[in-house]
């Protein structure tokens, strides 16, 4: 094993605090759905549900009256709807990064947080999908986006990045759901075998599709997991690239840039890790999982946040450089707008929250303290939302034709829907935490110390 060849300081530390047996792991993780949630959980769920209800009411109002309920105006045709879409899709990408890319890199610390991160991917994509759907105005006709034979004898425009987006996001949702479900099948089988109530047992049996954990099952399963990880890696990089094409393929000054795909993907991972971080801290503290999600896990994630923050800083610099080097007065104007325009404070918020504040994580003490983690994660979440605001609204506000320049002002309905999407996201996260195994027990079992036969082929096979 390559790990053993590394000097002491570079080796991966133990991934659990203290020795833990296979049975103890099940008792700790799988007992959660078997017990009644505490009053605190109900209080939290009531709060998030109420917030979701506000958002849903605002969405219903929008559907009834039309998109005029929003602040979108003539040059700023894309505003909160598209900002929130890009924001939430980005949040989802952290889950795929943890579950797929880190799996390919054989980063074993991912195992105990992968399940939660994957669930967050699903929920974030659900939140994201709301926005383009209501943005089309008449969502009951959204099926027009798909190429099906129809009496109008028309096909969708396959040269439009917006249609690429439809395919990318739908594929992403299906693949994430499949990845999440497959990972959960053996865990649900464990829950099935713990269940006492025959009805519950039957439900779990059906949900685990009768998983038996035979050697053949595992052999195909591991192969499938590896293939899915490889495919999901390519997919996650393509999805946010395609999202960035929505902008980069157009000719709006400030959007038409080749740096957009990698810049968007990095930003997505950055924002997603911050969100995973915040949720993990709460889960770790309230669900007695400190032994499984250790400070080491949090610290490694903080390093990822620091690294992606530096990449974001580089991307912002390159955007500025490209604008200057282009010698194009329209792009010059767009970039001056970002920092010194009517919403210039938003541009400065982006720089401070995304580039400056995460630099705190150079200190290992701050990487391991809750207050600084929450502070940085919250700052990154706010900063990344404003980054999309700056890119979308400020670029549209003042484009080529000065006579059509117009300032954008969001309405209360806009804010209500944004708030509601957070409510929906956290309601789903809370439900998940009490209903399904929050830690991939089979994956963690496979990396518990002493539970794999010695490597290297020198063990007794006679």
């Amino acid at each position: 094993m390559a790990e053993a060849l590394l000097p002491e300081g570079l080796r991966e530390p133990a991934l659990t605090d203290g020795a833990i047996t296979l049975g103890e792991l099940d008792d700790r993780v799988l007992s959660v759905p078997e017990t009644r949630p505490p009053a605190k959980w109900f209080a939290a769920f009531a709060l998030t549900s109420a917030i979701s209800a506000v958002g849903l009411a605002c969405i219903a109002y929008t559907l009834y009256t039309g998109i005029g309920a929003w602040g979108n105006n003539s040059p700023v045709f894309w505003a909160f709807d598209i900002i929130n879409f890009v924001f939430w899709v980005g949040i989802g990408h952290a889950g795929t990064l943890i579950s797929a890319i880190l799996f390919l890199f054989r980063k074993r610390w991912r195992n105990s947080i992968a399940r939660y991160a994957e669930a967050m991917t699903i929920f974030a994509v659900i939140c994201a999908a709301i926005f383009p759907l209501i943005h089309v105005g008449r969502p009951w006709l959204a099926f027009w986006l798909f190429p099906y034979p129809n009496q109008r004898a028309l096909w969708p425009n396959f040269r439009s990045p917006l249609l690429w987006d439809v395919f990318a996001v739908n594929t992403y949702f299906i693949v994430s759901l499949l990845f999440w479900f497959l990972g959960m099948v053996p865990d649900i089988a464990s829950m099935r075998d713990r269940a006492k109530d025959p009805r519950l047992k039957f439900a779990y049996t059906a949900l685990s599709v009768g998983w038996r954990g035979s050697a053949e099952h595992w052999q195909h399963y591991e192969k499938a997991y590896l293939l899915l990880a490889g495919l999901a890696t390519g997919l996650v990089l393509s999805v946010h690239s395609v999202v960035s094409f929505d902008f980069a393929v157009s000719v709006v000054p400030g959007w038409h840039m080749t740096i957009f795909p990698p810049y968007f993907v990095t930003g997505a991972i950055f924002a997603g890790f911050a969100m995973v971080m915040m949720v993990l801290i709460v889960v770790r503290e309230t669900m007695d999982l400190k032994h499984l999600i250790t400070m080491y896990h949090l610290e490694v994630m903080n390093k990822v946040i620091l690294g992606t923050s530096c990449l974001m800083g580089y991307a912002y610099m390159m955007e500025g450089f490209t604008a200057w080097y282009s010698q194009n007065q329209f792009i010059h104007h767009a970039f001056k707008q970002y920092l010194w325009g009517a919403y210039g404070w938003a541009g400065w918020t982006v720089l401070v929250c995304n580039v400056l504040i995460p630099q705190l994580f150079w200190s290992s003490r701050l990487r391991r303290s809750y207050p600084s983690m929450i502070f940085v994660a919250a700052a990154v979440t706010i900063g990344m939302w404003f980054e999309r605001f700056v890119i979308i609204v400020m670029s549209l506000q003042q484009d080529y034709l000065p006579s059509s320049w117009r300032l954008y002002q969001p309405t209360l309905i806009d804010f209500g829907i944004l708030l509601g999407s957070f409510g929906i996201f956290f309601s789903l996260v809370l439900l998940f935490a009490r209903v399904l195994p929050v830690i991939a027990t089979t994956e963690v079992k496979a990396i518990l110390p002493g539970y794999q036969p010695a490597h290297g082929g020198d063990h007794d096979r006679a």
Partner: protein, 381 residues
């Protein structure tokens, strides 16, 4: 051949505490004549496939083939739709510019490949869902998914496993516990009932959904938000509109704005207007235009013949002028033009209704009317 007297079972399962023990036992039991050797573990144990001599999973090849198929499907469909069936030039590119099809080709390739990897693994290779498998009824299963490692000799071909011989072998290999799983009943009743119930529920759900959809569509053909913009605010003639607070449907022109083609009319008195000259030539087109406009704006009061006698007169207090009288027949064009512009007695101004050349056309027609009503003997040819 099997002895008929010996006890037979569907499987004999031995449980081990450590994965190493399982590996060792699996390698030794491999190829046993007693039955099919199967291992069950709570998580994937490395090298177990080698110990059992399992063949490599064919999933990689399946996924590759389906991925290629997905890419070809997506590309062919896009090409056919955008370049053959309904070619459109977008952004000045040829309808055959294939580069734009790459993103969707990639996404569909990933979709086909992942569905093959995930569902192919579960349904084809692992032969799931199988929620009535005999193994699931064993007591050992509860321990296997928790923390035990099991090695089983399973019946192949329905003959059953020789219980005593299998027990002996498995205990010799160091199993801590042994469980004997009896041969299952030949026709399990539970699945049939379950499937019938499920099918019945599905049919009932379809019928219910069909009927409710039928009635909803019948009773509410167009629900408010889905009415395809059939009902929308609009301006009705002669009635106040809700568009603006003052009840008007359109905004008045801003103060000081001048319409295109508009010329200010500065003349105050008919005497002053008398010097205006009709600029239009007296042609058939002008006469026709004047006739139409007279019919629209003037006839309702001044009558077909310009005699001021219409049905309106009895209902309306004022008496419209008889345009045939000598004073008006001799009046210069400019005087009549002035009356159209500023009104006369009860007659309001028609400056907004008629444009400048239209006013003059009406005057030409009026002259023709006056002349026609003043026919003389000498007019007969």
């Amino acid at each position: 051949m099997t002895e008929p007297s010996a006890a037979r079972a569907w499987a004999v399962i031995g449980l081990f505490e450590r994965p190493e023990d399982l590996l060792r036992a699996a390698a030794r039991l491999r190829g046993s004549p007693l039955g099919r050797v199967q291992a069950y573990t709570p998580y994937p144990v490395h090298h177990l496939d080698e110990a059992l001599g399992l063949r490599r999973s064919p999933l990689g090849g399946m996924v590759f083939v389906m991925g290629v198929l997905g890419a070809l499907t997506a590309f062919a469909f896009q090409y056919w739709m955008s370049a053959v069936d309904y070619p459109i030039v977008t952004g000045g590119k040829s309808p055959r510019s294939w580069q734009a099809f790459v993103p969707i080709t990639f996404e569909v390739m990933v979709l086909f490949a992942t569905l093959t990897a995930g569902l192919g693994m579960l349904f084809l290779l692992n032969r799931l869902p199988d929620i009535f498998h005999p193994m699931l009824a064993s007591r050992a299963m509860e321990k296997i998914t928790r923390d035990r490692f099991a090695l089983a000799l399973e019946s192949s071909g329905g003959q059953g496993v020789d219980v005593d011989a299998a027990k002996k072998v498995i205990l010799e290999l160091g199993a801590q516990e042994v469980e004997v799983l009896p041969l299952p009943a030949p026709a399990p009743a539970a699945p049939l009932n379950f499937l019938l119930g499920l099918g019945g529920a599905l049919v009932a759900a379809c019928v219910l959904a069909g009927y409710s959809t039928y009635w909803v569509i019948k009773l509410y053909p167009e629900l408010p938000p889905m009415s395809h913009m059939e009902r929308q605010p609009r301006l009705n003639a002669q009635s106040p509109s809700g568009f603006f607070k003052d009840g008007r449907g359109m905004r008045p022109a801003p103060v000081g704005s001048v319409a295109r083609g508009h010329r200010p009319y500065l003349i105050k008195t008919p005497e002053e207007a008398a010097r205006l000259v009709n600029p239009l030539p007296r042609t058939t087109e002008t006469m026709e235009k004047g006739r139409v406009l007279y019919a629209v704006y003037c006839r309702v009061c001044h009558g077909f013949l310009g005699d001021g006698r219409t049905t309106l007169t009895s209902a309306y207090g004022a008496k419209p002028a008889d345009l045939r009288i000598k004073r008006l027949a001799l009046a210069p064009d400019g005087t009549i033009y002035h009356a159209i512009m500023v009104g006369k007695n009860a007659m309001p101004s028609y400056a907004y209704e008629l444009k400048e050349d239209e006013r003059w056309a009406v005057i030409h027609y009026l002259r023709a009317l006056q002349r026609a009503q003043d026919a003389r003997e000498s007019d007969i040819p």
